[in-house]
């Protein structure tokens, strides 16, 4: 089970012949992800790791059946690639690319909303349903099929916490990287709603960071809807100064908005336990799930 991606996912890789695209296609294939085709304009007719390459998504989908795409196309062309996937009927698009202009991201999200598609990212490690499908760049050995749904705005910090869950034999149902940019396809609330309906997910680890107010809104949602599964949160950036981007384009405190304190307070007010250290997330979940 898990959410968004699973055994039935058949993906194409856009930008498959680039260094990153080719490298991660190999790793995804090794993990067992069904990659049916790839695209790179001008490279049609070749193959990469046994995967046929086409010039356009349209052509790839004439020859193969696919329901997802993962994009490794460089930032200036990434929005165009996402639009191409959406227009050709792909309903799940993972945008790995970092440094996509906000204006481009806004246009992609508007189009996705219109056609009812799901965008993951941009600037995301991707999504993994352990044991079933990995559409992303995360180190696979850290993950193990299990009961905790993970949703996060960061990459490496997610691996840190996922490794803790794996060590404690809790494992993960699905791990979703929302992306580190200000405008991304999914929100914490979108993913919580999906985890609520997923029978494999027994609890949720939510990993937020400074910038924006989506964590605060998520806390309100959890309290108001009496979210039925236990949620543990970790918020990175307690020491971040205002006005500085902490690595991610979206991780910035503007004036008084977007601090770790307001997010932590909001979760505590909503009755969500907030971990002080990354390793506490697994410890708290272990305790909660034993009850």
């Amino acid at each position: 089970m898990g959410i968004i991606v699973g055994k039935e996912t058949k993906a194409i890789v856009q930008g498959i012949t680039g260094t990153q695209g080719s490298f991660h296609t190999k790793l995804m294939l090794e993990y067992g992800t069904k990659i049916v085709a790839g695209t790179t304009p001008g490279k049609g007719g070749t193959t990469i790791h046994g995967v046929p390459v086409y010039d356009t998504v349209e052509e790839a989908l004439e020859k193969h059946e696919a329901n997802a795409s993962i994009i490794f196309v460089p930032a200036p062309f990434a929005a165009d690639a996402a639009m191409e996937a959406l227009e050709n009927g792909i309903k799940t698009v993972v945008m790995i690319t970092e440094h996509i202009p906000i204006k481009d991201a806004i246009n992609v999200m508007a189009y996705a909303r219109q056609v009812g598609a799901t965008i993951i990212g941009p600037n995301t490690p991707g999504i993994i349903t352990p044991g079933e499908c990995k559409l992303g760049i995360m180190p696979a050995h850290i993950f193990k099929p299990g009961k905790v749904g993970m949703v996060s705005r960061s990459g490496t910090l997610t691996y840190e916490i996922a490794a803790g869950l794996t060590k404690k034999q809790l494992g993960q149902s699905t791990c979703v990287g929302l992306g580190g940019d200000p405008v991304v396809g999914l929100s914490f609330i979108d993913v919580l709603k999906l985890f609520e309906k997923d029978s494999q997910t027994e609890a949720v680890a939510l990993i937020g960071e400074i910038g924006g107010n989506l964590e605060e809104l998520t806390a309100e949602y959890i309290a108001k809807e009496k979210y039925p599964k236990p949620v543990v949160a970790f918020i990175a950036g307690r020491t971040a100064p205002p006005g500085k981007r902490m690595g991610h384009a979206g991780a910035i405190i503007m004036g008084r908005a977007g601090t770790a304190e307001t997010k932590i307070e909001a979760f505590k007010r909503a009755g969500v336990e907030v971990a002080d250290k990354p390793s506490d997330v697994a410890a708290i979940l272990e305790r909660m799930l034993k009850r």
């Binding site: 996509i100 924006g212 809104l217 990175a236």
Partner: protein, 378 residues
């Protein structure tokens, strides 16, 4: 990238937004010459990319060209919030009947732009929104259709305008929107947009922040050297494609991944220490990038000890170890170092470091605790 006031005004002027008559000077003589072409009284404004210039002494008034020369001389030798003033903008003073606010920024929640208008201009809009939220109009833009002239008229109407003023104002609003879109602005605002006693509208101050990720579409700003608001370390880091932020503590930090590095800083603080910086080497950093990172962090004289926290995915631990080794040889690092290294090629990384007697830890929290302890004992 934060544009300077005069750059923002030049852009807005191209889109039909009236701005006060003025000119740019980089020395006092130039300032006097510009003032001679203007009608006094005039305003002399330090061109630095910071908000709140007025309160910081960066905006001065003058009654004559001679006075402008003196005032400009003074401003050009000062720093505003730590940033040296390299140029001043001199413009005719505008008599304000009303001060409005109009701007556009990114609405992260609704994944679109939001146009914001208020009749309470002249102060920070966040402040107005907090004190009198009813006086702030927010209009989310539908990205598929954009902000249209009739939306601009609706905004002007809701702000209480009618007749010819409504049309004039709507044209200004629409101009700002188009400038914002064309220049990939994360933020574009006129504050205040002044309604003069003669019934005209003039943008007296303007701000534009261009999305750094869109600079490939705006080559005129792309090649500009970073200075002023950035520390030497931040500038050096940008050149090496590293994300660095200077903080005020004494423990130098290097890690991979923005979230992990933020969590590392937090862990240091949790154990009672103070981080000197944020530095994210990104994914898959080769050894020379690790060395550059070490050089930058160590160039901060406040750094007493180093904490390297790597969780290898695409980043290989052996490359990190080689970078540390190279840096140790070439830079002669003599400060204590705590290294946490797990993930891809971990054994090889540990072996390389063990050969030179550097111990490697598994747990980032244990490592954070140790580095804090080391600094405490120094």
């Amino acid at each position: 990238m934060k544009l300077l006031e005069y750059e923002a005004k030049e852009i807005l002027a191209k889109y039909g937004v009236p701005t006060p008559k003025g000119g740019l000077a980089t020395n006092a003589t130039e300032a006097r010459k510009i003032a001679q072409t203007l009608k006094p009284p005039v305003v002399v404004k330090a061109q630095v990319p910071v908000a709140g210039r007025g309160k910081a002494g960066g905006i001065l008034f003058a009654e004559s060209a001679e006075e402008v020369e003196k005032v400009a001389e003074k401003l050009l030798h000062t720093q505003i919030k730590g940033i040296p003033v390299r140029s001043v903008w001199i413009e005719e003073k505008v008599n304000a009947e009303m001060e409005l606010y109009f701007g556009m920024t990114v609405d992260r929640l609704n994944k679109t732009y939001v146009v914001i208008g208020s009749t309470e201009g002249g102060m920070e809009i966040e402040e107005v929104a907090q004190k009198t939220p009813e006086k702030v109009l927010r209009f989310p833009v539908n990205p598929l259709y954009g902000f249209r002239p009739y939306h601009a008229r609706q905004m002007a109407k809701r702000m209480g305008y009618s007749g010819s003023k409504l049309s004039t104002l709507a044209n200004i609003f629409y101009g700002l929107y188009r400038a914002g879109i064309d220049y990939d602005a994360e933020l574009i605002e006129m504050n205040p947009l002044v309604e003069t006693s003669e019934g005209n509208f003039v943008a007296v101050d303007a701000r534009i922040i261009v999305d750094d990720n869109a600079l490939f579409r705006h080559p005129e700003y792309r090649e500009r050297p970073l200075e002023g608001e950035f520390s030497p370390q931040e500038i050096e880091a940008a050149k090496n494609d590293l994300a660095y932020v200077k903080l005020d503590g004494d423990i130098g930090v290097i890690g991979n991944g923005a979230g992990l590095v933020m969590a590392t800083l937090d862990a240091i603080q949790l154990y009672g220490g103070k981080p000197a910086n944020f530095l994210d080497v990104g994914g898959g950093a080769p050894s020379d990038k690790i060395m550059a990172a070490l050089r930058i962090v160590l160039s901060d004289p406040n750094v007493k000890a180093l904490f390297i926290n790597i969780l290898g995915g695409i980043t290989r631990c052996d490359e990190v170890a080689r970078g540390v080794l190279q840096a140790k040889e070439k830079l002669g690092i003599n400060k204590p170092m705590v290294i946490r290294l797990v993930g891809t090629n971990e054994e090889e990384g540990r072996r390389i470091l063990a050969e030179v007697g550097i111990q490697v830890l598994d747990s980032m929290e244990e490592a954070a605790r140790q580095v804090v302890e080391i600094v405490r004992r120094l």
